[in-house]
């Protein structure tokens, strides 16, 4: 691959590195503190999780779901009320909350997929509906969550007695195992391909890539080891992200989303039920929004009527910064993860630097615009648009 092609392919990754270094210098290294690295994920867990669902919606043709912040609030308030007013316990509460999220998703998916209500309008309505219901449920109060099991499930840290004392070595050990696992997986995959005689990427580029990822994993887990260890929330986020990366890149179900966004009529004439694609896109989105509601509730420890306000905008922003096409049909989970982390780094960098909250909006807006302009211009030049 030529240098220019590499730059084009990894533009956002390079931008992420540049922005990260920029803020690291600006904050005199405070961004790199173990605590900040650890918090970077926790503070953006909801964006990472919901961006996966939002990607599915965007793939169908640049459609977004405006109601995710409200859905998050409603599900979080159901959780808060069940935990504080009933004796159901954490597991039953989680089950009920996820069922509620699925019901919300089915409701939205039905109107959008089967009744052909434009997604923008259906989800705008949902944004009012669910936010309102959430506030009604909370009687406009802030409800705190004290259930220890619930908090532990989502927001504790993994500690292994014996190893973890001052430094949480368990985190680093996991990091090393994952790093080695990745290398083995790559070797096995290449061997399999070679055996069947399929085409392969060059060994140099593939192993360089794995090597860089490994270094990042080790550096990350090193920092985690120096601050409380592996957060359980990281496991949840990884679970969702890996699941959706798998769905979008490897399954027929995921492929249909790309096809619908690329050409809905042709997809329908290829025997694919496009209504179901829309239905599941929005249904999964709401389920993830509900799940994020649990994450956010557990992390903050309380829920109020403004929980999740404007989260939909962060989520949508992360997707477009991460290279999802505003016209649908293209975008990857790895791309939107980069987008979400980029937004997160900017957020946190500015907070640590002590920039006024209002200016953070200005910067975020500018970044979103620049990212999309870049995408449009570079595609235009290569004649793809």
């Amino acid at each position: 691959m030529k240098a220019s092609a590499i730059v084009k392919k990894y533009t956002m990754t390079i931008a992420l590195v540049v922005v990260f270094i920029f803020f690291a210098i600006l904050t005199e290294g405070r961004l790199l503190y173990a605590q900040n690295i650890s918090n970077l994920l926790l503070q953006n867990a909801y964006v990472l999780v919901m961006a996966c669902g939002m990607l599915m919606c965007i793939l169908t043709g640049g459609n977004v779901d405006l109601s995710v912040g409200a859905t998050l609030c409603l599900v979080a308030s159901i959780a808060a009320q069940l935990l504080s007013k009933t004796s159901l316990g954490a597991y039953a509460t989680i089950a009920i909350c996820m069922a509620a999220a699925a019901a919300i998703g089915a409701w939205q998916g039905f109107w959008i997929g089967h009744m052909h209500i434009p997604p923008f309008i259906a989800t705008l309505a949902g944004m009012f509906l669910f936010r309102g219901l959430g506030r009604v449920l909370l009687s406009s109060k802030t409800v705190s969550i004290a259930n220890k099991t619930f908090l532990d499930i989502f927001s504790s840290y993994i500690t292994v007695p014996g190893i973890d004392k001052d430094v949480y070595w368990s985190a680093l050990i996991v990091g090393v195992i994952v790093a080695i696992g990745l290398i083995i997986l790559t070797i096995v995959n290449r061997a399999k391909k070679a055996k069947k005689g399929y085409e392969m990427k060059s060994a140099v580029s593939e192993f360089t890539q794995v090597f860089i990822i490994d270094i990042l994993i080790l550096a990350y887990t090193w920092q985690l080891a120096h601050y409380k260890g592996i957060p359980i929330m990281l496991c949840w986020v990884l679970l969702v992200v890996l699941l959706f990366a798998f769905i979008t890149s490897k399954t027929a179900f995921g492929r249909y989303f790309y096809a619908v966004g690329g050409n809905e009529k042709a997809t329908k004439l290829s025997g694919i039920d496009t209504r179901k694609v829309y239905f599941w896109g929005y249904c999964l989105m709401s389920i993830l929004a509900g799940f994020s509601g649990l994450l956010v509730a557990a992390r903050i420890g309380s829920v109020n009527g403004d929980t999740g306000l404007t989260y939909e905008l962060d989520t949508i922003g992360a997707c477009f910064i991460g290279g999802a096409s505003a016209y649908g049909g293209s975008g990857t989970v790895s791309g939107i993860i980069v987008g979400a982390i980029l937004l997160g780094v900017i957020n946190q960098g500015m907070s640590i630097f002590g920039l006024d909250n209002n200016w953070q909006y200005v910067v975020k807006g500018a970044v979103l615009l620049i990212a999309v302009i870049f995408d449009v211009v570079s595609n235009h030049k290569t004649g793809k648009a």
């Binding site: 027929a252 050409n263 042709a266 004439l269 025997g271 039920d273």
Partner: protein, 520 residues
């Protein structure tokens, strides 16, 4: 020479990795009709984009002399000011606006406070009269047919005081009657002193209308043939286009028709999906044997596409009634998926709108209709998918650097091949091909015909809907003729002629008219 309105010398245009135009020379005399022909990708449209300023001056090499002066067009507007107007294959009209508004779009008739509507519509009417359009200039574009829309485009060109009119495939979406009218109009304009350049795949039309024919191949001009005495025949043009003698335009094949019937349709009725009272297919019955190519002829709007799509899992129409038998067994198909599973494939006439996911790769388009064939429990085997892509690329000789290329970047003929390979991969018993060779060049057509012959040789049933009569006569075993939603004739290849087919359509028209007058 003084009477040359246009002289283009040594025009060269490079795209990354492609030499789109290679020292092209073109001379157009004042007051002539000059045709440019060539296979897809020969550089015809690029040349016209250079001329009109769509590709701005400076991005190509060579000189353009227009009316004796060197031209440096930076935008389309620059060239339009000097009277060069280009009408593209895809019409650039806005459906929700009136004819008059469209005609003066970007060039509005202004009064002191805004748009002078009286002048807009009266001027529009004047230009419309010249092209023989009798509709009100206040009619919305979406309410008139494609043929009339084409006329509006020409009227629009006239309103710009056109001296050199360029038409890119003006008749590709018109029926025979409208095409003839349009060509006669060009001849009429010629008498009034206007110069035209026409790009067309339809060689019979070129031979009919053009004084000079320039043949392009691989980005270069091969020759300019003089046709001022209308003595050139199509074979002569084809020889220039493909660079070899095409002795036969249709590949020969063994007759492979079996006794068994692949598809049988009995008493099929379909109503319009929006105007649900309107019948678009009326009590139609037909059958296709295994190993047989059956042609469907008819004018635009005869109901052929509607028939095919309604058979294909009711993907068109409402209140569909009738019996459908595949391989002798009656089937009920409610969705496209049902149809595919029953062994029917519908290959659309409009590959860009209904056929392909243009922003996706060749390999991924190839498997879309039967993705499960490369899946294990819903998980795609990407390696298997790629090897399928390679296999069909070889088999159908798709010209693409890799199967990871986006379909958008392929030429029309190659896109059509990808569309065909997608449906061949779905492995149907019955293929409904809707205008399978529309808008593709002679060489690619021949290859598509060969593929069709291979399909029937394997015992598949093929329905070929086409508006080009010679193609139907050259390829089919049997031909059905439809008109206004009804089946009006059926003939074997041996007895069919162009005259007989057109006769059948006209006769049924007259009968229809009589019925109406009786009713009144």
């Amino acid at each position: 020479m003084a009477d040359n309105i246009l002289v283009m010398t040594n025009i060269t245009k490079l795209y990354p990795g492609v030499r789109a135009l290679d020292n092209v020379n073109l001379e157009v005399k004042s007051g002539e009709i000059h045709a440019i022909v060539g296979e897809n990708g020969a550089g015809k449209s690029t040349l016209m984009n250079v001329l009109s300023g769509t590709i701005p001056f400076g991005e190509y090499d060579g000189t353009i002399l227009y009316e004796g002066r060197k031209s440096h067009f930076k935008t389309v507007r620059d060239s339009e000011e000097l009277g060069i107007v280009i009408i593209h294959q895809e019409l650039a009209l806005i459906p929700e606006l009136t004819i008059g508004e469209n005609m003066f779009l970007g060039n509005e008739r202004k009064s002191r406070f805004g748009i002078n509507w009286d002048e807009t519509f009266s001027q529009a009417a004047k230009h419309m009269k010249r092209v023989g359009l009798k509709d009100s200039p206040m009619t919305l574009i979406k309410d008139i047919g494609t043929g009339k829309q084409q006329l509006v485009e020409i009227a629009k060109a006239l309103s710009k005081n056109v001296k050199l009119l360029i038409l890119d495939e003006p008749t590709s979406s018109l029926n025979a009657e409208d095409s003839k009218m349009l060509l006669d109009m060009l001849l009429d304009f010629k008498k009034q002193g206007m110069t035209s350049i026409i790009i067309s795949h339809k060689l019979s039309e070129v031979a009919y209308v053009a004084d000079k024919i320039t043949v392009m191949r691989d980005g270069a001009t091969i020759e300019t043939i003089d046709n001022s005495d209308r003595s050139i025949d199509e074979d002569r043009i084809i020889r220039g286009m493909v660079g070899r003698e095409l002795t036969d335009r249709y590949p020969s094949r063994e007759r492979s028709v079996s006794d068994k019937i692949g598809l049988e349709v009995i008493d099929w009725c379909v109503n319009h999906p929006v105007y649900t009272e309107k019948r678009v297919v009326n009590h139609v019955s037909f059958n296709v044997h295994k190993g047989e190519i059956v042609g469907f002829s008819g004018l635009q709007g005869a109901g052929r596409t509607e028939l095919a799509r309604s058979i294909f899992g009711k993907s068109y129409g409402t209140s569909i009634t009738g019996t459908l038998k595949v391989n002798g067994r009656e089937v009920k198909l409610r969705t496209e998926r049902d149809a595919i599973e029953a062994g029917i494939a519908y290959v659309t006439e409009d590959r860009k709108v209904n056929g392909l996911v243009l922003v996706d790769t060749v390999a991924r388009n190839n498997t879309l209709a039967r993705l499960e064939k490369v899946c294990h429990r819903g998980i795609i085997d990407v390696d298997m998918e790629n090897s399928v892509g390679e296999e069909y690329k070889e088999k159908l000789r798709v010209k693409t650097p890799t199967i990871q290329q986006l379909v958008n970047n392929l030429s029309g003929g190659n896109q059509q091949k990808v569309l065909l390979s997608k449906w061949m991969f779905a492995d149907p018993d019955v293929l409904l091909l809707d205008e399978p060779t529309r808008g593709i060049d002679v060489g690619a057509k021949y290859e598509i015909y060969t593929i069709m012959n291979d399909l029937v040789a394997q015992g598949k049933s093929v329905v070929m809907i086409s508006s080009e009569l010679p193609e139907l006569l050259g390829m089919c075993d049997r031909i059905y003729v439809m008109n206004e939603g009804e089946m009006v004739a059926e003939m074997t290849a041996a007895e069919a002629t162009q005259e007989k087919i057109m006769g059948a359509i006209l006769k049924s028209d007259k009968k229809g008219a009589k019925d109406e007058s009786k009713g009144a």
